[in-house]
Point group: C2
Chain length 193, copies 2
């Protein structure tokens, strides 16, 4: 397969900002059931193999799951501090949970689970986030099996259909918009910053 043309710029930004661990974090916006926007920081877990979908992990019990079931649209805003590049990735989200029948998705879900740290995996055995704080014993869990994802573990896949790339270097700054076409190809246009 051919990678989307914006992937080159994103790979470049990831590489040039690699000294900053938080350059792999971005902000993911979704819409709540009441029509208001939600926004939180998530960690980029690489691209799904052989496609342009970004991998994120989340807990089945988190508020964003219900939001996504109601409205699959999302926009990731990813700012790279060192190179001053911003990517806005508009797309739809797919949830891969323990019940997903698609074998390729389950394989991706297992792979991302394996790549997590023990600490990150343990979080999926913790009490439900956002609820009244549990006593500290509730967080003392045995590290889960690295080969078998807990049922609460979900892989989220963001499939972009529009990517807005702005680089703040230069005056005026430079900006391009990429749109996915019905045939899967992409158009590129240079726009005013």
């Amino acid at each position: 397969m051919t990678l989307a043309p914006w992937r080159t710029h994103l790979s470049g930004a990831l590489h040039r900002n690699r000294s900053l661990v938080y350059s792999r974090y971005f902000q993911l916006a979704t819409v709540r059931q009441d029509g208001t926007p939600a926004n939180r920081t998530v960690v980029f877990r690489g691209f799904q193999e052989k496609c342009d979908r970004l991998q994120i992990v989340t807990d089945d019990r988190s508020a964003k799951i219900v939001q996504i079931q109601h409205n699959t649209h999302a926009e990731a805003c990813w700012y790279f501090p060192k190179t001053r590049d911003q990517f806005r990735l508009q797309g739809t989200l797919e949830i891969a949970n323990f019940e997903s029948a698609d074998e390729e998705l389950q394989a991706a879900r297992r792979q991302v689970w394996e790549n997590l740290s023990d600490n990150a995996r343990s979080g999926f055995a913790w009490p439900r986030s956002g609820e009244v704080r549990s006593p500290s014993e509730a967080f003392e869990v045995d590290p889960p099996n690295p080969k078998t994802p807990l049922d609460s573990f979900c892989l989220l896949l963001l499939d972009p259909y529009c990517v807005d790339f702005l680089t703040l270097r230069g005056n005026p700054q430079n900006r391009w918009i990429y749109d996915r076409q019905p045939d899967g190809g992409w158009t590129e246009r240079e726009v005013n910053p």
Copy 2:
């Protein structure tokens, strides 16, 4: 007036991350007219005097203006890399443009305009953002008068009604949610991370 209780934590984060210029940037999510979320990086321009509203600047011609006129709700996601603190600020946005009759708002708008750099002010005289790239001459504008905001210059005020503060230091991490009450006061509750 009494400052909201989350202001102490936010001021602390701003202070402890002050060596990073980009710790004053956050991601602002709004909802498009078609019901999909939008998300972009903006610069924090301080709090409006004597209240808890966050100041942001934007161009009257930018897409977010139409989004806000249609749905005033927004969520700011603000991640502080050095201290590993995240603030999610849910609130409503008010637009102060050149026509706003409220004298207090106009004073705040003029003050923020004055505090901008010449470069930032010039951007408000540039061709419309997001349109096909204009020739470079179109970006060669005289620096606008620092005392008189251009008509395209808008001040955005984010008035939070719910603040979710997560600090990633510690295992488990620590998290508090603040809700504004009808009387203007705030409740605080500690929740699971």
